[in-house]
């Protein structure tokens, strides 16, 4: 077979008719081949992301339950019911607090940690491995580790604080059993889990700054803080934004930390939208209401997607 590149083939085709075989076979036509190679993935994504997403929306305006076999359209009754449910508002507020506080901490601590491990030092490999552990270990199992650390009777935190005389008298916090402490605890675990990812993303951003810029700043006599706020931070702002967006998505939609540590308690003080949707939709069997609750995650995801698209468009131009 003496077939050559597609461009050459089409150039020849204008002069002499190309062999019929090659013209017909779709694998030889670039735009057709592209569609054929893409089709399985696109079909799969439409069938297993797009279709269920559409179903989630239609359940939210229906009376679907785990046992029911037919759906009836009930309009916005489920939403009206949710809006009157104090637990829902509490979950929404908790989800915002949980996400907001943990992600501010993650970005600030991530930047500090990234600066601390940026330069080479002996033992960097092992430090990096240890720092990455929380992100790479399955989160449900990491949370179990924290469940033991926060144990009401055998908490190592309480034991150590008592041994160091930080806790005196009868002071013995029940980390997961007191509303404010429970929220602080799940925030701590979420920071623990997402800090490694933010750190490595920020590190990637820092190493993409050309060395010339640092050199020029040093020649100009910029000190540490001036360098940090005038040069370093503005240059890595887009990448920190990426780290923040992923952190927001992962935290706002997460139910594992809450499910393992508190099951939303005590008194729904750590209930978030994702966990409330699970307890209502799956354990409570009320698929319609559960779907309606879970869809309140979506506006945040749309906002995140818009920011992403803006970043993508900007880099496309340059």
């Amino acid at each position: 077979m003496s077939a050559s590149g597609e461009r050459l083939a089409s150039a020849l085709a204008t002069h002499a008719p190309a062999p019929a075989r090659r013209r017909i076979h779709p694998f030889d036509d670039e735009s057709w081949l592209g569609r054929i190679l893409l089709a399985p993935a696109v079909v799969y994504i439409v069938a297993l992301v797009g279709f269920p997403f559409f179903l989630a929306i239609s359940y939210s305006v229906s009376d679907a339950t785990v046992g029911s076999t037919t759906l009836h359209f009930v309009g916005f009754r489920n939403y009206a019911q949710i809006f009157q449910d104090p637990t829902f508002w509490r979950s929404l507020r908790n989800a915002v607090v949980f996400t907001g506080v943990s992600q501010v901490l993650v970005v600030v601590l991530g930047k500090i940690l990234a600066m601390a491990i940026y330069a080479d030092f002996p033992g960097k490999w092992i430090v990096r491995f240890l720092i990455l552990l929380p992100w790479v270990a399955p989160i449900s199992l990491g949370s179990i580790g924290w469940l033991w650390i926060f144990d009401p009777v055998y908490s190592v935190i309480n034991w150590s604080a008592r041994a160091l005389h930080l806790f005196r008298g009868g002071f013995w916090p029940i980390w997961l059993g007191q509303p404010d402490l429970a929220m602080a605890s799940i925030i701590l675990v979420d920071v623990w889990r997402l800090l490694p990812l933010a750190t490595v993303i920020i590190l990637a951003g820092m190493s993409s700054i050309p060395q010339d810029i640092h050199d020029a700043a040093a020649v100009d006599g910029a000190g540490f803080w001036r360098h940090l706020f005038r040069i370093n931070l503005p240059l890595i702002m887009p990448i920190m934004l990426v780290a923040l967006l992923f952190g927001i998505v992962f935290t706002f939609t997460d139910l594992i930390v809450v499910y393992v540590l508190t099951r939303g308690g005590p008194f729904d003080s750590t209930q978030v939208i994702a966990s409330y949707a699970y307890f209502t939709g799956v354990q409570g069997g009320d698929l319609a209401t559960g779907a309606a609750i879970s869809l309140f995650l979506f506006p945040v995801l749309v906002a995140v997607a818009i920011v992403f698209l803006t970043i993508a468009k900007r880099t496309e131009v340059t």
């Binding site: 077939a3 199992l141 623990w192 698929l287």
Partner: protein
């Protein structure tokens, strides 16, 4: 005389640096250290509040691991996870590698938009999809079957891996397949015979991520699987070993450690690529 304060400043800086690193490492790695200590303690030692929890008050024991391996389905859960992982990896490779190639080479502007659209589907979380999926899975008669996971897991691995492979193929010089096509291969054959073999590094990344994402997945497995014999490890450990009032802390911590450390070791080698996949477009 003038360089003396400089030395002090420098050693002060180094001390602050080391303290900072030590604090971060202590925070991030402590739970794993704690799992390791708990795994080898006898139950009586664990629950004696007069004992220093950092030390062994009684001789170390392998009892907890014996319970884990011989009195729970832990081995079964690991086998289940491996089975699902292998199948999902195969599906992901079959779908994501051709799609990534098509997006990198065979499509113009619409390909760029489609690529971003595929990436954005990664943002639709399991927490929105698990409710409709629970009915789809029931409708297909796959409740409590590992096949439900094999069907559903590619929904989060395929978008991300397609995006990763697209970035990878863009980094391969076009000359490779153009030379092969001048030698008489069709575009498709050039892709299969020339491009795929030089892409083994990219495909290995896809394999690692798919396997680790499968190991980490929790929500779907929790929703679809109801019997211990069909649990994956990430759901089996927290639901089976934390039921009722009796917690087998030693066995629990052992399970967490045994699963986490090997995954962490492998993942550690690939984390830079993972980050590159996340930040394609934001960092060049």
């Amino acid at each position: 005389m003038t360089h003396r304060p400089l030395i002090i400043v420098r050693s002060l800086k180094r001390t602050v640096h080391m303290l900072l690193l030590a604090a971060f490492v202590a925070f991030l790695a402590f739970p794993f250290y704690w799992m390791a200590i708990t795994t080898f303690k006898s139950t009586r030692d664990l629950i004696d509040t007069t004992h220093n929890p950092f030390l062994f008050g009684a001789p170390p024991t392998l009892d907890n691991l014996r319970v884990l391996f011989f009195q729970t389905d832990f081995g079964r859960w690991i086998a289940n996870t491996a089975e699902v992982g292998v199948l999902v990896t195969l599906i992901t490779l079959l779908l994501a590698v051709p799609a990534g190639y098509a997006l990198a080479r065979l499509s113009g502007r619409w390909g760029h938009r489609l690529g971003i659209a595929i990436f954005l589907t990664y943002l639709i979380p399991p927490t929105i999809l698990f409710i409709p999926f629970s009915r789809i899975v029931a409708g297909l008669g796959l409740q409590d079957s590992l096949w439900s996971l094999v069907l559903v897991y590619p929904s989060f691995t395929v978008p991300f891996c397609t995006w990763l492979m697209m970035g990878f193929f863009k980094s391969i010089p076009r000359d490779i397949e153009e030379a092969a096509m001048i030698d008489g291969l069709s575009r498709f054959r050039a892709f299969v015979k020339v491009v795929v073999p030089v892409s083994s590094a990219g495909m290995l990344t896809v394999v690692i991520f798919t396997l680790t994402l499968v190991m980490q997945e929790f929500v779907y497995a929790l929703t679809f699987i109801t019997t211990s014999a069909h649990y994956t490890v990430s759901v089996g450990v927290p639901t089976f070993l934390v039921r009722g009032d009796v917690y087998f802390w030693g066995s629990l911590m052992g399970a967490c450690l045994i699963v986490s450390i090997p995954v962490a070791l492998v993942y550690n080698l690939f984390v830079d690529r993972f980050v590159a996949g996340f930040t394609v477009g934001a960092v060049k």
